[in-house]
């Protein structure tokens, strides 16, 4: 096949083709403007530095995670330089696991990671597709493969984030379709590294068990990032940021009340770090609204409309529960 001859019957064969158009196309495909030779050139061309700075600025705490991301970014930048000098043959494996308790910032960091990988040219589009077992695994025979492939296709060019990935593996049911999804994932993670990056996320202990039973998966994950719980001070700073985003603030004394609230809440079950902070603030906003609503004839100042008062927090059931439990 290849080049057509454009031979017209009854005439001599048309001029022989001279060019190899495939070479042109290949050139059109991969054309980095100018090849960077220094770290700062790579950072300037990609603007990945800006994303990392944002990450530092916007996300409270997470010091070890931020350090790991800087390490990974450094590795990618150096790989890029090596590639530009022809020293690197293969794209690095970038699949990752994010472990940690709920609300420790795994999804948020995954979004930033997708952006960084995009800026550095390790994924082409930089979008994040977040899924769970239900999106990948079907209900009957022949259902799983198309479902998993569909998700993989949507994620291509970006990052596939599988939350609570260990649910894919159910050893108690040997005919569970999750295994099929795992196998397809593995195949794509191995063969199409250029096309997408997979991030598996979940609780640390369960993920460890999952990796022990699925050594194939474990060996394809290059980077394990463990997200620590936030310290109370960090949670308070998160609360400040969240309020600021919504144009609220703590009224005098309210911040201290919220700190008390956090101390109590951490000890109670199902504490979910930043997520619990957000939920608590949402409820405080509700209470603030009800409080103001009762005062029907008053003209509120901006001050009043933006202030979360101590009483809005104090009314939480968390305090009552803590009181009945007594000091433990």
């Amino acid at each position: 096949m290849g080049s057509p001859l454009y031979s017209i019957p009854g005439t001599a064969p048309a001029t022989t083709p001279v060019a190899e158009p495939t070479a042109d196309a290949a050139a059109a495909q991969a054309s980095p403007s100018t090849e960077a030779r220094t770290v700062s050139e790579v950072l300037a061309q990609s603007q990945a530095g800006a994303v990392m700075d944002e990450l530092d600025r916007d996300l409270v705490g997470l010091t070890p995670i931020k350090a790991r991301i800087r390490d990974i970014a450094a590795l990618l930048v150096i790989d890029k330089l090596r590639m530009n000098l022809g020293l690197q043959a293969q794209a690095p494996s970038l699949h990752m696991s994010f472990t940690g308790n709920p609300g420790t910032g795994k999804t948020t960091v995954a979004l930033r990671m997708a952006e960084i990988l995009f800026r550095l040219g390790y994924v082409r589009k930089g979008h994040l597709v977040a899924v769970t077992r239900d999106d990948l695994v079907g209900q009957y025979i022949g259902h799983t493969a198309p479902k998993t492939r569909e998700v993989l296709k949507r994620a291509m060019g970006g990052v596939l984030f599988i939350d609570e990935a260990y649910y894919l593996y159910r050893p108690e049911n040997e005919r569970d379709y999750g295994q099929e999804a795992i196998e397809i994932l593995l195949q794509v993670m191995e063969n199409q590294r250029d096309d997408l990056v997979v991030i598996l996320a979940g609780y640390k202990d369960r993920m460890d068990t999952f990796f022990r039973s699925n050594p194939g998966m474990s060996s394809r994950i290059a980077h394990h990032l463990d997200f620590p719980d936030y310290a109370p001070g960090e949670l308070l700073r998160i609360a400040d940021k969240l309020l600021e985003q919504h144009n609220y603030r703590f009224a005098p004394g309210a911040r201290a009340t919220f700190e008390e609230y956090l101390t109590a809440r951490i000890r109670q079950p199902n504490f979910a770090n930043a997520r619990s902070v957000r939920n608590a603030l949402d409820r405080a906003r509700l209470r603030q609204a009800s409080r103001l609503f009762a005062d029907q004839d008053r003209r509120f100042t901006a001050e009043e409309l933006t202030a979360i008062a101590a009483c809005d927090i104090r009314a939480s059931r968390v305090f009552q529960a803590a009181a009945t439990q007594g000091p433990s």
Binding site: I8, M156, D195
Partner: protein, 148 residues
């Protein structure tokens, strides 16, 4: 072999050019995705000009961001049907269009037998024409298998 200037069936957007490489196909897919089209893969062993409904290789692919997903399926389809015609089709769902916006062939059999023209003479020098595909001379299950 067919006798037209490119010795092959000339359906689709790019039949007069050298066969597109996968990298070139990816660029076309990207163009379609950037315009919001949904890609679909179809294959057939009967490329009659009025054979509209080729077999669908899976469902049309909605909500993709990147060409790699489509290209993966093209490769799967080629693996399954190496001696069939395979085409990529882009659907545009915009009101007032709601039809196909792009279509080009991405796989062909090694040899393309082409078509014969059957003439049935009727009254008043009129002729009724039938375009007959040589590929369909063999039973359905046995086409697209390389002979010779």
């Amino acid at each position: 072999m067919m006798t037209n200037p490119v010795s092959k069936i000339t359906q689709g957007q790019f039949s007069f050019l050298p066969e597109l490489t996968d990298a070139e196909i990816a660029l076309q897919i990207e163009y379609g995705l950037s315009r919001g089209y949904a890609w679909s893969i179809e294959y057939t062993d009967d490329p009659h000009p009025r054979n509209t409904f080729w077999e669908m290789f899976g469902m049309p692919m909605f909500d993709l961001k990147d060409a790699a997903g489509v290209l993966t399926e093209v490769r799967n389809c080629r693996k399954g049907f190496p001696q069939h015609y395979i085409r990529l089709i882009a659907f545009d769902g915009t009101r007032g269009v709601e039809s196909i916006a792009m279509s080009f062939i991405v796989n062909r059999p090694a040899s393309e037998p082409g078509f014969g023209l059957i003439r049935q003479e009727a009254a008043g020098r009129t002729i009724r024409y039938t375009v007959h595909g040589y590929a369909t001379d063999r039973p359905e299950g046995e086409r697209g298998i390389e002979t010779s």
